[in-house]
């Protein structure tokens, strides 16, 4: 590409308000992977590389991993890999598989949806899959009367990295609710049953008609030999796909991800400053590295001696619950298997490789 073309593209993107912090998607280079490898759970969302999840409504299943298979020379180190482990060759009417990122409404208000100034939006990404053919991407606004549109792209060659761009018009009819909740979805369809494919593909903003959502989508889950890699996901305001923004550091991306999820896992790590609330209850204030989006769900490992109150050699297996969340910290406590003197304090550590605490404020 010529330098003149570069400047023309940049000017076009600037006119559309798409230069500064242009990537609305978080972790598009799939660098941050706090949870590690995952497997899908039927009927649920499974988060793996941060901010991305796979939803499967059926018996199909896949392993979800961070891969080092990337398009050559593009500056990426990782991709998200979906590797089919259970095929679904007899697709039920309601079967559905999606790979997606969900956005807080307050982070996409710049699209000005619901006004005559609604902005165009451009999605670009790299994809490599053993499954060629037509694939669908859906843009979904979960307003009280939900809106959506779908666009197709084609994977032309098996097991070959391909660059895709999709530009959609803004929705002048319906605003995106300005909240910290899940309001806007970008969804790569993996497969879908006839409930979603029996109509005509809806390629402009309209109220949701399920039959028109994923028409033409191939069945990525038709063989356990299938896999898909995606990286370089960039969602930018305007009608011009610009080169992926590599200027954001790993630390900046990690901080963005920790608004939605944070964990401490492994032996020897610190949980926080604790104290005996009573002779049979240990409390601990846990400080988050980022203010979380919402009060998080707390999950604790539960194995023999996963945690230890260090001034009293008082080891315990798990935490009972959480309370008093204030955005950037929370009190966790246990009333199981601890014994000490009320008021005594100490630090609390993770003692095993299995020790883990997780705070989940995902969308």
């Amino acid at each position: 590409m010529s330098r003149a073309r570069d400047f023309a593209d940049l000017a076009g993107a600037a006119d559309a308000g798409g230069i500064t912090g242009k990537n609305v998607a978080i972790n598009g280079a799939m660098q941050v992977n706090q949870r590690g490898d995952q497997s899908t759970s039927a009927g649920s969302n499974t988060y793996f590389v941060d901010r991305f999840n796979v939803y499967i409504q059926a018996t199909a299943a896949a392993n979800l991993t961070q891969s080092t298979d990337v398009p050559s020379g593009q500056g990426f180190a990782y991709s998200a890999k979906i590797d089919v482990t259970t095929a679904d060759t007899s697709v039920g009417a309601s079967d559905l598989g999606l790979f997606r990122q969900v956005f807080e409404g307050q982070n996409v208000q710049q699209l000005a949806y619901g006004t005559s100034s609604a902005k165009k939006l451009t999605l670009s990404f790299w994809v490599k899959s053993s499954k060629t053919g037509i694939h669908i991407i859906e843009f979904y606004n979960s307003a009280s009367t939900a809106r959506q549109q779908s666009q197709s792209y084609t994977i032309s060659a098996a097991d070959t990295w391909e660059y895709k761009t999709i530009t959609i018009d803004g929705d002048t009819a319906t605003a995106i609710d300005n909240t910290a909740n899940a309001e806007f979805y970008v969804q790569w369809v993996l497969y879908a049953g006839s409930n979603y494919t029996s109509g005509t593909l809806n390629t402009s903003w309209n109220n949701v008609t399920d039959a028109n959502r994923y028409v033409g989508q191939v069945n990525f889950f038709d063989s356990t030999s299938n896999n898909m890699f995606i990286t370089g996901v960039q969602l930018e305001v305007g009608e011009q796909a610009t080169p992926f923004d590599h200027s954001e550091s790993y630390g900046e991306t990690l901080a963005k991800c920790q608004r939605y999820y944070w964990q401490v896992a492994g032996s020897g790590l610190l949980v926080g400053q604790g104290f005996y609330f009573s002779s049979s209850e240990v409390d601990c204030i846990v400080n988050f590295p980022q203010t979380m989006r919402a009060t998080p769900t707390f999950t604790s490992s539960n194995n023999s001696g996963d945690f230890g109150f260090m001034n009293n050699s008082d080891n315990f297996d798990t935490w009972t619950a959480q309370q008093f969340f204030d955005g950037s910290r929370v009190n966790v406590y246990t009333i199981s298997g601890v014994s000490g003197t009320a008021g005594y304090s100490g630090y609390i550590r993770m003692l095993n490789s299995t020790s883990k605490i997780q705070f989940d404020a995902e969308l």
């Binding site: 649920s44 939803y55 899940a182 009060t295 998080p296 707390f298 619950a321 959480q322």
Partner: protein
């Protein structure tokens, strides 16, 4: 859009006040805050409203 497999749910109380819900979601026991906007809490409430889930009282 946030369907989950919730197989049990029970309030956790401290000093007679419910402070969270101990729920088994997708096979994992979680401490779910009583906070709208939390996706697990919102889904518990959706399933309760649909009549497919009951939150047990605290012990």
């Amino acid at each position: 859009m946030n369907v989950m497999n919730i197989t049990s749910a029970q309030y956790v109380a401290k000093d007679s006040d419910n402070i969270c819900i101990k729920a088994t979601i997708d096979g994992v026991e979680m401490s779910v805050p009583l906070a709208p906007g939390n996706r697990h809490y919102d889904e518990i409430q959706r399933q309760v409203a649909a009549g497919t889930l009951t939150i047990q009282d605290a012990d």
